[in-house]
Amino acid sequence: MNIKETIKETYLEVLEQTGSELLVPELTDDVVLLESGLDSLGFAILVATLEEKLEFDPFTMMDEPLYPTTFGEFVSIYEKMNPNNQI
């Protein structure tokens, strides 16, 4: 499974875990994170759960910290910071 699929799958798990509902028809790249169904606490749990699965937290690794607005930006931060990436 690639990172994007892992993130989508984990997103849905956290949605269920927190008793939240998806507020958009589909998790596309332009979906605004905080309007997607998970609140900021939900995203905190998502980042922590992803850290368990992927064994890295990109937000603590960035030289210039950045907070994502859309789902696409969120995924690209994980893709970009993935230590397993072959350069």
């Binding site: 905190a44 759960t49 937000f59 210039e64």
Partner: protein, 442 residues
């Protein structure tokens, strides 16, 4: 002695003062409200009054009317448990509950108690945020609260402060006073406003100065309204400001002055740090900073002493140690020339500004029917500061992990507020204990 009313005399009356999404009042408008109430205020003069859960906008106007007139004002935010009201009324010897109707003061009789308070300065009684304890009442005055506030009204005219903290709390009242003292505009969002509504309100009124928790700022940086916003002054308070959020703000708002503030209801106005890095310079500990002395307790908590001790517990219990210092309960660590905050000595976990006591969560986990032993601890998180994690030992190790997790979380959600529900649950075979058999807390 200064008061809010006296402040008004220094500010051009045509300046905007209080702005909501639908109403804007100038300082002159506030002056008129005061004049309209000049007779009726005499009826409650020198009494102890409570403002109980009124809107933030109404609260702000009431403060102008009451400060310097009544003996004390008890702030009761909407989220204070109603069952505590009588107890607080008694402790603060409240005579009247006050509110506004068409900008005229109305009051309900509460109790006729002889006033023992002989001061002629109005006492502002602010509840602490409380953890699992019942919030305590702390008495402040206009002067103690404005000790470090800037009062240059020429500079102030350029600022439009956003109020996103609760004005009934220490953090919110600081923002209110800073804005009013320097003749700035204050853009008020109400407690029930959504993030989008708050940000749209700030944009509408061209907010350029905002004080908020690190968690709020993270949400700002994740919002779709982000590019509509611009700030000259950014302050962070209420939680530990980590390097990530400070640097992210610096990147996004490169020309803004970024301050993180150390203050609390009990410790009062503390100090601020303006280099956009986490923690504070060690020389603050050695030399003090702006009338505040700092030192470490034997358990590495930060002790703070204001030159002028002003605030005190209303109950009469002492806030202070014998040497005048207050133990803040915040554990710090010195690394080189910098002092960093590690967390609370009570073990409380700060989740986006909300305090969580691990023992409470452990208790709920143990009652869930699945869990034989539980250990709850914080995990640092870039989105919320910390989240709640739990290591649990199941009664029956053969229970399907997914079923157990779903069952435990469902039970937690029924019993606990959202921010208290563990975000991560790990199933372990046993918990680490210390030699005395206690759970090992790092």
């Amino acid at each position: 002695m200064n008061s809010l009313k006296k402040v008004l005399s220094n500010i051009p009356l045509d300046r905007n003062a209080l702005m909501t999404d639908t109403i804007s009042l100038t300082y002159g408008d506030i002056q008129k409200v005061i004049e309209k109430n000049s007779e009726i205020i005499k009826q409650i003069k020198s009494s102890n009054v409570v403002i109980n859960g009124r809107s933030r906008f109404e609260f702000a106007k009431l403060l102008f009317l009451l400060d310097g007139e009544v003996k004390s004002i008890l702030f009761l935010p909407q989220d204070i448990d109603a069952s505590l009201h009588d107890r607080y009324y008694e402790e603060a010897q409240i005579n009247f509950e006050v509110y506004l109707e068409n900008d005229i003061i109305k009051y309900n009789f509460i109790n006729k108690i002889e006033n023992t308070n002989s001061s002629n300065e109005t006492i502002w009684i602010i509840p602490t945020s409380g953890t699992t304890n019942i919030p305590k009442l702390v008495a402040h005055t206009f002067n103690s609260l404005t000790r470090t506030a800037k009062s240059d009204t020429d500079i102030g005219k350029t600022f439009r402060w956003g109020l996103v903290f609760d004005i009934y709390r220490f953090s919110g009242i600081q923002v209110f006073l800073q804005a009013m003292l320097s003749g700035s505009a204050l853009i008020i969002s109400e407690a029930n406003a959504s993030m989008s509504e708050i940000l749209n309100n700030l944009t509408l009124h061209h907010c350029n100065a905002l004080s908020a928790t690190p968690s709020f700022w993270r949400k700002v940086l994740m919002s779709k309204e982000l590019n509509e916003l611009d700030f000259t002054i950014i302050t962070l308070g209420g939680e530990i400001a980590d390097e990530n959020i400070l640097q992210a703000l610096k990147v996004k708002f490169s020309h803004a002055k970024i301050l993180h503030i150390y203050a609390s209801t009990e410790a009062g106005v503390g100090f601020s740090v303006n280099d956009a890095h986490a923690g504070f310079p060690k020389h603050y500990l050695d030399n003090g900073i702006n009338g505040v002395s700092l030192k470490l307790s034997s358990t590495s908590t930060l002790m703070i002493k204001n030159e002028k001790q002003a605030q005190k517990y209303l109950s009469g219990n002492s806030l202070y140690e014998d040497d005048g210092f207050i133990d803040t309960g915040d554990i710090v660590e010195i690394k080189g020339e910098r002092v960093y905050f590690l967390g609370r000595d009570s073990g409380a976990i700060n989740v986006g500004g909300n305090k969580v006591q691990p023992e409470e969560i452990e208790h709920v986990l143990l009652n869930s029917g699945y869990v034989h032993a539980a250990f709850v601890y914080p995990k640092k998180n870039p989105m919320m500061g910390n989240i709640v994690c739990a290591d649990v030992v199941l009664y029956d190790e053969t229970t399907d992990a997914k079923i157990a997790k779903t069952g435990i979380l469902q039970y937690c959600r029924e019993k606990l507020e959202n921010f208290k529900v563990p975000g991560i649950i790990k199933f372990v075979a046993e918990l680490e204990t210390t030699q005395s058999g206690k759970l090992k807390r790092s």
